[in-house]
Amino acid sequence: MAGTGPHGRAERRSAGELESEVLATLWATADALTPAEIQAEIGGGLAYNTVHTILKRLYDKGLVLRDVDGRRGAYRPAKDAAQLTAEAMHEALDRGPDPIAALQQFVTGLSRQEEAALRDLLGGSGP
């Protein structure tokens, strides 16, 4: 399922926002992706050249690896910094809820009834 459709508005997204989106796409999957695959996944009328430029920038920053899994032109996210961040985050979470409680988390917990209602909302495509 690709995110194509009437909702993508590539022309209104800044370079920084597109970088985040491409990086998020690479992290969302276990597979290495080619620029064409990323383009199909993101959708929203994003030009192939734009995807290519963004990947080059991410590569220069050391955020992605190129030519991985023996596939020429396939990209994968670089894991080192992300693993250190995860360790630091879990260390803080284990210490107690205080530091994270002050954060504005994207979502909070659910009751059993609410869970069922949300599954209904997502319909067949839900997890």
């Binding site: 399922m1 985040s20 993101i42 504005q104 979502v107 917990g109 997890p127």
Partner: protein, 299 residues
């Protein structure tokens, strides 16, 4: 001074009672901004009122007694001494509560900066290679967005865009500063704690509305919230129930209707309610100064 000085303390209750209604009917951006402003003014005024009450103890100070005694004046006693002593005790508690909030904020800030270590400074998205779904904004210049790999993997492409737009809205509209302001207000005046909870919810609603307009689709925004909530639920099945337990479903329900209107008149009314205690406190201040000046010309 007799009545004015108590006005700021009572008006906090009025603000607390109207906050949920304002939050439900007015666009979340406007509601959050006016509630934070009114709460901050109210808390500042009520703290100042306590200071004034405490200041009436000044006639107990040996230096003041000596000077007044020489001139043969009777010292004013605008409020009972017990009230003044209680006010001083309340001020001590408030100072402690304010420090607690500030310390917690600084600790969080330090943690967030540590989480960004090793990531290029000019990159907005900071990914944590974690199997637990989390996402939050990291305020700063520039602000950044931390999302775990598990959260990214749980969402579909358009929903990931919603998530990024939501966190970006927290950063662009300085929600962290608003949240700190209302937390300090609630620490200074515990009657405002419900206002703090309302604002916390409104900041999420505000970011949801911004995300919906950035992505151009309320339905996708609602689905993103639902999927993220379900993923979090699976990851933390034994998690204790929390006061904001119903927040996600209420946010989703709000996205399934039209966006609430920007009602400037209601906003202005809330601001006026915040200005009243400040006026009361100002009036009480001039009364006290007047009293003291009349007794002690040297003051």
């Amino acid at each position: 001074m007799r009545i004015d000085v108590y006005v700021p303390l009572v008006l906090a209750l009025l603000l607390t009672s109207i906050a949920p209604g304002v939050g439900r009917r007015v666009s979340p951006g406007l509601a959050a901004r006016v509630l934070v402003t009114a709460a901050t003014l109210t808390a500042a005024a009520s703290t100042w009122a306590l200071l004034l009450l405490g200041a009436t103890l000044i006639d107990q100070a040996p230096a003041v007694i000596a000077e007044a005694g020489e001139e043969g004046r009777v010292l004013p006693e605008p409020v009972p001494e017990t009230v003044a002593v209680l006010a001083v005790a309340a001020l001590a508690v408030i100072a402690h509560r304010l420090l607690h909030v500030l310390r917690a904020r600084i600790a969080t800030r330090r943690l967030l900066l540590r989480l960004c270590e090793g990531h290029p400074p000019d990159s907005e998205l900071v990914v944590a290679a974690s199997p637990a779904p989390h996402a939050f904004a990291i305020p700063g210049r520039p602000g950044r967005i931390l999302v775990t790999a598990a959260m990214l993997g749980a969402l579909e492409p358009a929903e990931r865009r919603v998530l990024l737009a939501h966190e970006r809205a927290h950063l662009t509209h300085r929600h962290a500063a608003l949240s700190t302001a209302v937390s300090l207000a609630a620490a200074a005046n515990p009657l405002l704690v419900p206002v703090r909870e309302t604002v916390a919810f409104l900041l999420e609603r505000w970011a949801d509305e911004e995300a919906a307009s950035a992505v151009g689709d309320r339905r996708t925004t609602a689905r993103a919230l639902a999927r993220a909530a379900l993923a979090s639920r699976r990851a933390r099945p034994g998690c204790a129930l929390h006061f904001s337990e119903h927040a996600v479903t209420r946010r989703i329900a709000a996205l399934q209707t039209a966006p609430p209107p920007v009602m400037r008149s209601v906003g202005a009314a809330v601001l006026a309610l915040g200005a009243l205690p400040a006026l009361g406190a100002a009036d009480a201040t001039s009364d006290l100064l007047h009293l003291l000046a009349g007794t002690l010309p040297g003051l």
